[in-house]
Symmetry: C2
Subunit: 371 residues, 2 copies
């Protein structure tokens, strides 16, 4: 197999290293942004030149960002190249168009590395479905926020924890995508595509991040002998989908409570296996490159079933901890007042929660409380 590689950053470099050691796959061209990056005779700054290499079968996209990655991937598909990508943001935004193009041009579109890094999450979702129906997925899908929450739990301030994450290369200089939960939202979209065969608009997925987490939440968690994790969730309750991102209070006896720092932990529930869990490195050059290379080795592979647009019904019910700027005495679903401005809700639907919190500037922090 002959591969062209788009991007040679943290992940691309490792993909190159792993593939260059193999005899069954050959990298014939590598796209870089700038002439200054060229340290290999296969490198070029011209996508057209790369696309026209003889016998090249597979384009591996490790650039990140929506553009120009999306345009390049589209063009490569029109030239009948298989696609392997780790780019969750681009995929989540353009999945319907890309999967249609893949079918029309009879090429594969693989994205193992886009959720859970080195964890075989997408692969196992496909494999489990050879027999089972997946009913639920959930887990810790973002290493940056898990690192910050672990440090916070161990006594660091939130600001210091974020700074440590940035210093250790786990967080971007602009950490919005991570701490506000958007990265997990992309991963939930891709997990829902793979497990439930539905495509949801980004905006239809409620997302509660950890930006405003405070000592109050940590104190509450400690009192209950629980921990707080940012979780991505998906339920298929007889065709009613509930996909959402939310900080979650978990008992210390749950296996995810011990998934610490930058490690990810993902669970699914399916008909014959019941709960099955996967723990591993969710990011980093080497594990992500492993997932990319696994995709390359699996090409050509069958495409996904037909993916259809769907409504995020948000019918799933839960109990929620809600901290406000000022207590809302008119709130209809208070089960308990925790302190002067924090409540615990009764069992309510996600839709009720979302209707109440969306755009409500009185709401500072929300988390789900698992029973």
């Amino acid at each position: 197999m002959k591969v062209a590689l788009l991007g040679c950053g943290v992940v691309g470099k490792e993909v190159r290293r792993i593939l260059d050691e193999r005899e069954d796959v050959e990298i014939v061209s590598i796209l870089v942004k700038d002439e200054k990056e060229i340290d290999d005779e296969r490198m070029t700054t011209s996508f057209e030149e790369l696309l026209n290499k003889d016998d090249m079968d597979i384009v591996v996209e490790c650039m990140g960002g929506i553009e120009p990655a999306f345009s390049y991937v589209k063009k490569a598909m029109l030239h009948h190249k298989h696609i392997v990508t780790s780019n969750k943001k681009m995929l989540a935004n353009h999945y319907l168009e890309l999967s249609k193009l893949a079918k029309e041009n009879q090429v594969s579109l693989r994205y193992e590395a886009s959720v859970g890094g080195g964890i075989p999450w997408i692969h196992e979702m496909h494999r489990v479905q050879r027999i089972d129906k997946i009913q639920r997925f959930y887990g810790i899908m973002n290493g940056t926020t898990n690192y910050i929450l672990t440090q916070f739990e161990e006594g660091e301030s939130f600001e210091k924890a974020l700074k440590n994450a940035q210093m250790n290369g786990f967080a971007e200089q602009d950490p919005t995508d991570d701490i506000d939960g958007y990265d997990v939202r992309y991963k939930c979209m891709l997990s829902a595509i793979t497990s439930f065969h539905i495509y949801l608009e980004e905006e239809s997925i409620p997302v509660y991040g950890i930006r405003n987490i405070s000592d109050k939440e940590m104190k509450y968690a400690n009192q209950k002998n629980q921990v707080i994790k940012l979780m991505g969730n998906g339920y298929d309750e007889e065709g009613n989908y509930s996909i959402y991102v939310i900080p979650t209070l978990l008992p210390k006896t749950h296996p995810l409570s011990n998934v610490k720092n930058e490690t990810n932990g993902l669970f699914m529930k399916s008909t014959t296996l019941s709960e099955s869990g996967y723990i591993g490195k969710g990011a980093g050059g080497t594990p992500t490159a492993h997932a990319v290379v696994q995709d390359v080795l699996s090409i050509p592979s069958l495409e996904d079933d037909f993916i259809q647009g769907a409504t995020n019904a948000l019918t799933h019910t839960g109990r929620f901890y809600i901290r406000m700027q000022e207590l809302d005495n008119h709130c209809a679903f208070i089960s308990e007042t925790i302190n002067e401005n924090t409540i615990l809700s009764k069992e309510i639907s996600l839709q009720t929660l979302y209707d109440y919190t969306k755009g409500n500037t009185n709401i500072l922090f929300v988390m789900e409380v698992l029973q």
Copy 2:
């Protein structure tokens, strides 16, 4: 594909149910022991009759026990049938002969269900090795002992915990294979075959069980804020193999510490992924049947690399808790005396531990202490 099923007990029944719902696989014959079991026109008590069914491609063996399962599987291979089996004891004892027969007759020999039940352990070991070298495996491989240890941890007596396990169908009436660690030893043998491509004689694998665990150990674990798990272990340290079974003192912060009751949890360490973990149902009809059916759907599949006999070098070093009938003052590797008859060893090799404990009736209970 046409399948013949040997055995219709807890696992076999579920395999029948799952396959009977599919259109891509058909069960054409089912072997049962006794005429009284016949409740399906495909059932027979004659293996010869089953073997001679037209167009039958795959024999699925769910009988358990070494004989007659081994003879039937051998005969089926000589008739060019692919084999899927969940029978760890038979495989562990006869792997070299069976894998040779598989090669000679160009058939597959699949055993996903034999370790970790519904957990994709064997599958992922194969898949990870498309890129990585596996350096270590370890984990909770036996649901019965994990159930007993969980109950014991929660305050039940060992006898009551064992009785509960038997009442709930997690333990056999003769629990020797489980509580003395032999079941985990078979699973370590199969994990070493799959990950390290070596075959070890059963007797060369040290096995320390939980039969003599007492309140003393639980008290010690509690003091240290740790838990005790029966673990199967494999190390490949540059060609020096250390495969062994031992109760292990684990910090409560380790993800395996929260793998409770009959659940299994398995980890491997490999070159690019570092640690990756898998948690799920290790036994039970439905999850085990899932793994069996996954094997059926993967046939024909490539055979393992050449497996060779190897020496269990036991060069790996660790620290061990050793409780004796009477304190051995001549023991050369005491680092600490815990009480009147229990010591904590210095860092010693497994070979040193094994030489000291093997056949030594003064030794009551041994566990490894993870740092």
